[in-house]
Symmetry: C2
Subunit: 458 residues, 2 copies
């Protein structure tokens, strides 16, 4: 069985090799269309500058739903529709304040509440601080944490080439730090921002109290990397200094929102569905141009490119703009729930959710046979400086998809600058380069074209 | 003969393959050193923010010479010295002004004099405008150009993946436009900025009157891309509109300046010289962080990395910070002149002069045998996302080097954003990402290490 799969892969590879001229020519058309005739940059301008931050449940998130639906309706799809989904609604309230109280000196530092955090008391919270590098270290401190603010200060590691690896090695402090510290009676947590550079932007992001009883929830916030360095330095001189912070964020009732879906019916295999998407919601501190306005408009651009080139996919192609990736993932789950209910067969899903930077390749969740075949297509991508085809995570919104045989992929842009902006107030439209955004869209369209032409191996 | 070269190449390739573990480990150390322990970002901060724009012959250029020499002296090199070189001194004078005179409406547009241009008359120059797309088109217009301002408006082509290709297809308008237009009696030229995006920054750059008699020189300036679009649009409505511009730049006498050279004597082949460098001078509109502050500090970082790792090169390694790349190339020529006079044997030269962006590979000026062998090293670079090894230009400053057998290389960073900043007022330190800069330095050090270990094929 395994042999026959390998043989099939080789044969299909063979076809791809003989068909190279046609594919090469079509790749050329795709990239040219995107670099000279794209709409994605203007769409992103609107999403970012006319609408702005789009946290789930906000008015802006709803505006983004209506805007992208209207834009998709101009692209001549077979249908454009909304999928209802209930999403959490968390609101930041007024801007947070924080300072270090070092003897009698107050030193203001930039913080922001983490998504899902509770508020402090109305007048804020003051406590002594214990700095830790990890949750493991927390567990060794036990009773010493009682009544304290726990300061998680493990930096993202600089030495990895892929910055997402550094993020993965760090984000537990943000996601689970408050829950773990609360178990020992800590009264709050402050987390060093997930940022590889030293600057003054606090980076928000989701956190979870897990199954902690509500009465044990403690407020949690991110501090800028410069703020974290300062706090750590001052703590070494004066371990008894105090930290004050005030935030009045709150979790409201879930509200109705939507995934936006546009569809081209497959001309040969309408029953086979390919998804391309990103997420419409963003954090609330900025307009989320990289996370994930870029992925939204690149996914829409794939449709626009195919339209401009008169390409009719053999398989059904759906652009899905997911809601609520940032703090709940409800849109992705809802999409899968409906796919199951409708007995749909997804063969491929591609997500762009790593920023609008120069594309470098893809990461694939795939069986060996399909992954090997896709590797055989690398030569087609090389003229466009796309070289990196690795196994790895596809994307949060396509995670829930469970069709029997499905290949999932995530666009991999250059990751060096991503965490300069991620979940922070500087993730804005001016940090986007038009050509990098368009090259990403073209790279996505090219992979979808090959999957559409060749299908996937079952 | 050819066969034996190929055989030698294969053999040496073989050695590289067997030696992979050692090389792999050393690559890891190089990248780690650069990402965790580099000085280049702080050096660039000083060059950009403490010194600033460094046009040849300026006080700042001299400050940059002294600063980089002093910094090199801290790195434990065998010698650090200056090479005297006479350089042109062109000064911009007061900020240029320009407007479109459309009937009685004056519309101000952003321009800047091109390097080497003469001034307008003291009160400026007003004339009707003829728009052309090329020097070829100019030649068809003949007498119609008399008394006119020629407006060169051919945009950089968007569809190329490598933006330097777009630049190469466009820059003749800037370099030779004034000289060619003057031959037909034009009174000035305005050139669309070499910029792939639409914005309000005029981009300067060198231009040449060639062997035109001085009496025929005409003033020439760049206009921002938005300005060019506007002028073109208004010209279509009103071909009789006038353009006004005023600039009081001037070419002064040549002055004494310096290349900065630091050297580690080779432990095995001191007679074989490897050069790594960038250019110290920048245009005058900004601090030149990308062009070419980045190349300067990356070249210095190569030395710092080797020092941190205790690596003693077998061949002599020279860091050369060239003066006057932008408007004369005198530093590169002087370096070669002295190399000839001293009967030096250069085996390798690497320049970084394409911006401090994420490194993608190198372009090589090399014979086939050495190029093929270098291609065999690609697998060592792949874990660092370095994939692009092409034949192409090494660098302007190393162009003059003429040793009998020499491999030249240019670092190839991602080129998408380069022309957003190139020669414009926004080429500043905030446009630099620390990790991208450091990855470039590590990539340079890695190639130099391999050349040093393996020598070049003669």
């Amino acid at each position: 069985m395994k042999k026959s799969i390998v043989l099939a892969a080789l044969l299909l590879n063979g076809i791809a090799i003989f068909g190279q001229t046609k594919d090469e020519l079509f790749f050329k058309e795709i990239y040219k269309s995107s670099l000279t005739n794209a709409k994605c940059y203007d769409w992103l301008d609107h999403l970012s500058n006319k609408i702005g931050a789009r946290l789930s449940g906000s008015d802006n998130a709803q505006k983004a739903v209506l805007y992208t639906k209207a834009q998709l309706e101009t692209l001549g799809l077979d249908k454009v529709y909304l999928q209802e989904v209930m999403v959490p609604k968390w609101v930041r309230g007024e801007k947070e304040t924080a300072y270090i109280l070092d003897n009698k000196t107050k030193i203001t530092v930039p913080i922001c509440a983490l998504g899902g955090s509770i508020a402090t008391a109305k007048n804020g919270l003051t406590a002594a601080v214990i700095e830790v590098q990890s949750i493991a270290e927390l567990n060794t401190l036990g009773d010493k944490l009682k009544g304290k603010i726990v300061f998680f200060n493990r930096p993202m590691e600089q030495e990895f080439i892929e910055t997402f690896k550094s993020y993965g090695g760090c984000v537990d402090q943000r996601y689970a730090g408050a829950k773990e510290a609360a178990k020992f009676g800590a009264v709050g947590t402050i987390v060093r921002s997930m940022n590889l550079r030293l600057d003054d932007f606090p980076h928000t992001g989701n956190q979870s109290y897990g199954d902690l009883p509500k009465s044990q929830y403690i407020p949690t916030a991110a501090i800028s990397t410069n703020g974290a360095e300062l706090l750590s330095k001052l703590l070494k001189k004066n371990p008894n200094l105090k930290f004050y912070f005030k935030q009045n964020c709150q979790q409201l009732e879930d509200v109705l929102s939507y995934n936006v879906v546009g569809e081209i019916k497959g001309s040969v295999h309408p029953e086979n569905i390919m998804v391309v998407g990103g997420h419409l919601d963003s954090w609330d501190l900025a307009d989320g141009s990289h996370d994930d306005g870029a992925g939204v408009v690149q996914s829409m651009e794939v449709i626009n490119i195919f339209k401009n080139l008169g390409y009719k996919p053999k398989n059904t192609l759906r652009v899905v703009l997911f809601m609520n990736e940032e703090n709940g993932g409800k849109g992705g789950k809802k999409y899968e729930e409906l796919a199951q209910a409708n007995h749909e067969n997804h063969i491929f899903a591609l997500e762009s959710d790593s920023g609008g930077f120069s594309p470098r390749g893809f990461s694939f969740e795939s069986d060996e046979a399909n992954f090997n075949r896709i590797q055989g297509w690398k030569n087609l991508f090389e003229p466009y400086l796309i070289h990196s085809f690795t196994k790895g995570h596809g994307g949060s919104d396509i995670d829930p998809l469970t069709s029997k045989t499905i290949v999932k992929a995530g666009l991999k842009p250059d990751s060096q600058r991503y965490f300069d902006y991620h979940h922070a107030a500087n993730d804005t439209f001016d940090a986007i380069n038009k050509r990098e955004l368009e090259l990403g869209a073209a790279t996505m369209a090219s992979l979808i074209y090959l999957i559409d032409q060749n299908g996937i191996l079952k």
